[in-house]
C-alpha cells in the first residue's frame, strides 16, 4: 500500500547542487497557516489571553456575520424568490454601515487614487526615462517625498484639501504615484539600444519607437510598479480614513479601537489583508497574460 502511494508521484525535479531556495514551499506554508490559526484558537479556548487583547476566532466570525448583515441579506434573497413573506432580521452593520459599504468606500478611495496615479505616473515616468529635462524636473520632488511616511504629510493634505474626499484621494494618490513613476522610468532602460536601432533602420519615426518599442519593453516593469503601488495604497488607506470619514474599512477599525472592540479590529485587519491579497493575485494573473515574455529574454 505504501509503495502504491509512492508510485503515484510524478517524476520529481532533480535537485541542482547549490541552487539557492529550490523546491516548493507551498506545503510548509499551509502548515504554518494551520499552526497560526490553530494556535490562536487553542490559546483563546484555554482562556490564556483575555478577549480584549485577543478575541477568539468564533467571536470574529460572529462579528463578521453581524456587521455583514448576512441574515438580513439572506432573508431578502428568500423574499425575492418567494420563500418568505417579509424580511425580519435587522441590518445594523457598524458605524451606520454594513460591511460591504465599508469595503466599497475603501475600494473607491484606493482604486480612485490608484487610477489617478496610473494615468499620471506612467507618462511622467516614461518621460523621465526618455528625456533628461523631464528627469531633471521630476526627479528631485519625487525622490524627496517618496521616503516620507504619509502620516507626516496628512495634516498638510487637510490644510490644502479640507476634510472631504479629495484629501483622502490625494494622500493615497501620493503613495501610489512614486512606485509607478520610478518603475516606468526604470522600464525605459530595459529596452536595448539594438532594439531601438533596429526599429529606426526599418523606417520607424520617433513616435513609433516610443509607442511600439519603448512602451512595450517597459510594460513588465510598469506592471510591477502598479502592483507595488496598489499595496502602498492599502497601506495608506487607514491613515487617509483617519480624517472625518463616515465609512470605510479604516474607519471601522479606528472606531472599533475607540470602543475597545478588538474583534472588529481583527475583522477589519483580516478584510483589508484579504482584499489586498485578492487584488495582488489578480494583478499577477493579469501580468502573466499581458507580459508572458517577462524574464525570458
Amino acid at each position: 500500500m505504501m509503495r502504491g502511494l509512492f508510485k503515484r508521484r510524478g517524476p520529481q525535479a532533480v535537485e541542482q547542487y547549490g541552487a539557492p531556495g529550490q523546491g516548493s514551499g507551498t506545503a510548509i506554508s499551509a502548515v504554518t497557516i494551520v499552526l497560526i490559526l490553530g494556535g490562536w484558537w487553542v490559546v483563546t479556548q484555554l482562556g490564556l489571553i483575555r478577549p480584549l487583547f485577543l478575541p477568539a476566532p468564533e467571536m470574529v466570525i460572529s462579528k463578521f456575520a453581524k456587521i455583514a448583515c448576512t441574515e438580513h441579506y439572506f432573508e431578502q434573497m428568500l423574499v425575492a424568490v418567494g420563500g418568505m413573506a417579509k424580511v425580519e432580521a435587522k441590518c445594523h452593520g457598524f458605524s451606520d454601515h454594513a460591511l460591504h459599504e465599508h469595503i466599497l468606500w475603501s475600494l473607491y478611495r484606493v482604486f480612485g487614487a490608484f487610477a489617478l496615479a496610473t494615468v499620471t505616473a506612467i507618462p511622467i515616468g516614461i518621460a523621465m526615462g526618455m528625456n533628461r529635462h523631464a528627469r531633471g524636473v521630476f526627479d528631485p520632488p519625487i525622490e524627496f517625498y517618496r521616503p516620507i511616511p504619509p502620516l507626516a504629510y496628512l495634516p498638510l493634505t487637510i490644510i490644502w484639501f479640507g476634510i472631504g474626499e479629495s484629501g483622502k484621494l490625494f494622500l493615497i494618490f501620493l503613495a501610489c504615484f512614486a512606485p509607478i513613476a520610478i518603475n516606468a522610468r526604470a522600464g525605459v532602460r530595459s529596452v536595448s539600444i539594438e532594439q531601438i536601432h533596429a526599429a529606426y533602420s526599418m523606417g520607424a519615426s520617433h513616435r513609433q519607437v516610443l509607442r511600439q518599442v519603448v512602451l512595450k519593453a517597459a510594460l513588465p516593469e510598469i506592471l510591477t510598479g502598479m502592483r507595488v503601488a496598489i499595496a502602498f495604497g492599502w497601506t495608506t488607506l487607514v491613515a487617509a480614513e483617519m480624517v472625518a470619514a463616515k465609512a470605510g474599512i479604516g474607519v471601522m477599525v479606528l472606531n472599533a479601537a475607540r470602543f475597545l472592540a478588538t474583534d472588529i479590529v481583527f475583522l477589519g485587519i483580516i478584510v483589508i489583508g484579504a482584499v489586498a491579497f485578492i487584488f495582488d493575485l489578480m494583478m499577477r494573473r493579469f501580468e502573466r497574460a499581458l507580459v508572458p515574455w517577462k524574464g525570458k529574454v
Binding site: 532594439q195 529606426y200 526599418m202 511600439q212 519593453a217 507580459v291 515574455w293 525570458k296
Partner: protein, 266 residues
Amino acid sequence: MTAIVSLNRVSVEFPAVDGAGVVKALEDVSLDFRDNEFVVALGASGCGKTTLLNVIAGFLQPTSGEILHKDAPIRGPGPDRGVVFQKHALLPWLNVLENTEFGLKLQGVAKEDRLSRARDYLALVGLSDFERYPIYQLSGGMQQRVGLARALTCDPDMLLMDEPLGALDAFTRENMQELVLDAWRKTRKVVFFITHSVEEALFMATRLIVMSPRPGRITHTYDIDFCDRFFETGNARAVKSSPEFIALREEVLSIIYGEETGDGLP
C-alpha cells in the same frame, strides 16, 4: 559600376576613457560598396569594425569625412540599410511572423501585403513552420534567421551584419553561413558583414577588408570568389579545405597575428 554606399576619408574619434585625448576608432577610411557585393570586414576586437558599421547604418556621425548613399549624404538610419545585430534584438512581445513584418507595419504597408512578404522571407530562411512561435522559444540560430528575415522584408539596398553568427555554436554557424549566402544570392543585396573568423570571412566574401586597430583603418583588401565555388559545387567543406583557401587563410592569419605581436609591446 556605381557605388550604392561610399565612404570618403571617414574618421571617427571617441573621447578616451581617462578623459585626456581621443581614441581614433576609424581613421581615413575610404570604401565603396557596389551592386551585388558581399564585403566582409575582418579584424581583431577593437579595430573599429562596429564603428564602421554604425557609421554606414547612420547610428553614428563621422568626426570628419563624407558618407554617401546613392550620392546623398547619410544623416541617420533608414529602411534602405537593413541591420542584423550580433544579439538578435528582436521584440519579445511579438511572435516570429509579427517580428518579421514589423518593419513594413512601421512603414504603413497594408496587412495582406506585409504578411505575404514576411511569409516569403520566413520561407527563405526556413522558418515557415515557426510563424506563431514566441521568439524566446527559438534557438540562437533560429533567432538570427528571424533577424535576417526581418531585415530582408524591408527590402533594403544594403544589408549590414555585425558578427551575426558570433554567438552560435560551430555546427549551426556553418549552416548559417550557407543560409546567408543563399539569401544573398536570391535577394541581390549589397552586404556588409563583420566577423572575426578568418575562415568565415574568406568563405563568404567577394571582397575582404582586413582592419587593424589604433587607429582603426583598412590595411588589406582582397577580391575573392570562394563563395562562387560554393554555389557551383554546393560543397562548403570542399571549398574550405582547398589548397588556395588554406593558403590565403594562412596569409590573412599571419597579417592579423603579425600586427598583434607588432604593437603589443611599447
